[in-house]
């Protein structure tokens, strides 16, 4: 507890320092933007005004997986006719900078993430999703082009660039409420767990069978294969997968069973090495740790599948774990593992891949069960408290959702009744 307080104080101090640096950095950018605009204003329509390079704002990232980042605008033709600000494209709190007359101003990007962009990526064809694994950047950055294509014509048509000067994105109020609510529940249940309240968590078959799977591998004298998904460290499913890896590695260290962790990302490899090393040290077997068993294969989605399939066929591990974010490769991996006779456990929050894992694996952690794993396995009161808090919010969400559905049904029912009454009573039935 003392460590955490110390850590928090340090975090606040370093945070202030970091934000100071960012203010300074932002300040220099702001000045150059302002000066470039002034130059453009005094020489309207003058194409000879040189664009200011440092006024360009690069791609901004998205906060949550699946959403698209804000993309920098490409230079627009200077022949665009300036047009007045319209009510629909300019919220009252958003300040319109100016109409564009020079390329110096065309590099200013509105800092609003539009809802349409989020929807663009949320739609997917089951089994055929292919992440942009060839890019070293996070997936959210690599798929930014469609969003730009949607927004660019509108901006080109109006010829306006806006800077969002609001202090709060009102369209994200619901998210803030959800976070506050969730945090409140989590803190409450953590404190109640610390006071000694017994928190019941239902049995999760997939997690209870982890020990059995490692035990089986030990009895057969074979290795355990663990795959923490194919996405990078910016994906929360990868973090959840690494949490479970910590527990599995400790078990393999205790049973003296080799564990192989092929990864699709170098950062994941590095983190997995640390996680496994720590687990071996915790089990009192640092000498048994083999860093070469946690290795990087390739960033390419199907290249990775080929590599892992090769390991499965050659080494025939007795237990295969697939915990993390998977796309179209899920079934190829799971079916190859099944053909080698290994006991298989999978966990993912990708709804489109769950049926494949359910069909091909012995146990499957579905959606939130993957995130509950660290609390379930550690039995730490704080973690269990946070799990309980989440369950409460989930119940609340479901209640709100079903209440909404119920209300809509009531409205439909009333409409139906009114239709009947307006069309001659019950004779139409």
């Amino acid at each position: 507890m003392y460590d955490r307080i110390k850590c928090t104080i340090l975090a606040v101090i370093i945070g202030f320092l970091l934000f100071s640096i960012s203010f300074a950095y932002a300040g220099s950018n702001q000045i150059s933007l302002k000066s470039s605009r002034e130059i453009a204003r005094v020489t309207p329509g003058n194409k000879s005004v040189a664009p200011v390079e440092n006024a360009t704002i690069p791609a901004m990232p998205s906060l949550f997986p699946g959403t698209l980042p804000i993309q920098p605008n490409e230079p627009v033709s200077s022949s665009i006719t300036p047009s007045p600000v319209t009510a629909e494209n300019t919220p009252s709190v958003v300040e319109t900078v100016t109409s564009i007359t020079s390329s110096a101003e065309q590099t200013v990007t509105p800092a609003i993430s539009s809802p349409e962009r989020t929807e663009t990526t949320s739609e997917s064809t089951p089994g055929t999703e292919e992440p942009s694994v060839s890019s070293p950047l996070p997936a959210s950055t690599a798929v930014a082009t469609p969003g730009t294509a949607e927004t660019k014509p509108k901006e080109e048509a109006t010829g306006e660039k806006k800077i969002d000067t609001r202090w709060f994105k009102t369209e994200r109020t619901n998210m803030l409420v959800a976070i506050v609510l969730l945090s409140g529940f989590i803190v409450y249940f953590i404190f109640s767990a610390q006071r000694g309240t017994e928190l019941f968590v239902r049995r999760i078959a997939g997690l209870s069978a982890l020990d059995d799977a490692v035990g089986r591998a030990t009895e057969m004298g074979k290795a355990v294969l663990y795959i923490p998904g194919i996405m990078d460290m910016d994906d929360i499913q990868t973090l959840a997968g690494l949490s479970i890896l910590s527990y599995v590695a400790q078990k393999t260290a205790e049973y003296d069973t080799p564990i192989m962790v092929p990864t699709s990302r170098s950062l994941v490899m590095s983190t997995a090495q640390e996680v496994v090393k720590e687990s071996y040290m915790r089990a009192g077997r640092p000498d048994a740790f083999r860093p070469d068993n946690i290795r990087y294969l390739t960033d390419d989605q199907f290249g990775f599948v080929a590599g892992v399939d090769g390991i499965m066929v050659r080494d025939e591990p007795a237990a295969n774990f697939y915990m993390g974010c998977f796309y179209a490769e899920s079934l190829i991996l799971a079916e190859t593992g099944h053909s080698t006779g290994a006991i298989q456990m999978a966990g993912t929050a990708m709804p489109s891949q769950l049926p494949f894992f359910v069909a091909a694996c012995d146990y499957t952690l579905m959606g939130e069960e993957l995130y509950a794993a660290s609390a379930y396995l550690s039995r730490d009161p704080q973690q269990l408290g946070s799990l309980k808090g989440r369950i409460c919010v989930r119940l609340l969400s479901y209640s709100v959702y079903y209440w909404d559905v119920y209300l809509k049904l009531q409205v439909l029912h009333l409409l139906f009744i009114s239709l009947i009454l307006n069309n001659g009573g019950l004779s139409i039935i």
Binding site: D3, R4, C7, L10, F19, S22, F23, Y25, N29, P61, L63, A111, P136, L137, T141, D164, T165, W167, K169, M175, A178, I179, L239, L242, S243, S246, S266, L267, T271, E274, V276, S279, D292, R295, Y296, D300, Q301, G303, A328, L331, I332, A334, E335, T336, P351, F356, A359, M366, G367, E368, Y371, A372, S378, D380, S386, L387, R390, V393, S397, Y398
Partner: protein
């Protein structure tokens, strides 16, 4: 301090992104950009880390002449030849790099992806065996959905597409939404746990 320092970085970066998400005003709108630049730099170095691991593992195999070591020579040759040609001749259309991409890399990727069709058939065969009540329900549902989604199904009976649409729009969507709501809350709560330092398992701790 070995564990506290990475935790500090996590907390600061997480809070920074949180502020960036909710506050569009200057200078918070630049925090995300700044972190993103750092991620790009770190990712560039991480590629070297991955390639280093690849060379070390396969170099050891070759030097020790372990089983299948000639394949390691092919792999390392592929890595170096592609990288050298890409750096030397560029990556534009018509370059040797482009040739390797088109005629080696893409067909191999397509081959792996095409395996999915066969695996779907074998997985479906196992999943649809009517061994229990649930499996029988799945079989019946799959029967209607598959027939409803192909033209011959509509020729046999017009009701097949309607039943298939209903199954996909209502029971399937309801199940998917339940999973998605749970998963979304899981994401938020895991993020909060990591931010406030409860969950340290990604650092190798409990």
């Amino acid at each position: 301090m070995k564990r506290e320092f990475p935790m500090l970085i996590t907390v600061i970066a997480g809070l920074g992104y949180l502020l960036f998400y909710f506050i569009p005003h200057w200078p918070f709108n630049l925090i995300g950009e700044m972190f993103q630049s750092w991620v790009i730099v770190i990712s560039a170095f991480a590629i070297l880390l991955g390639v280093g691991s690849l060379i070390k593992v396969h170099g050891d195999r070759i030097s020790r002449k372990t089983e299948g070591w000639p394949y390691s020579i092919i792999l390392l040759s592929g890595v170096f030849i592609t990288a050298i040609l890409g750096i030397w001749k560029g990556v534009d259309v018509g370059t040797p790099f482009d040739y390797i991409f088109r005629y080696f890399y893409s067909p191999m990727g397509s081959t792996m992806f095409s395996l999915l069709a066969f695996f779907i058939a074998s997985a479906a065969f196992r999943a649809f065996r009517a061994q229990s009540r649930e499996a029988t329900m799945l079989l019946v549902a799959a029967f209607f959905v598959m027939l409803g989604r192909v033209p011959i199904g509509e020729l046999i009976w017009e009701g097949f597409p309607k039943i298939a649409s209903w199954l996909m729009n209502f029971p399937t969507t309801a199940g998917q939404r339940a999973i998605m709501i749970g998963a979304a809350l899981g994401v938020v709560s895991t993020s909060i746990k990591i931010l406030i330092g409860i969950d340290k398992s990604y650092l190798g701790g409990d």
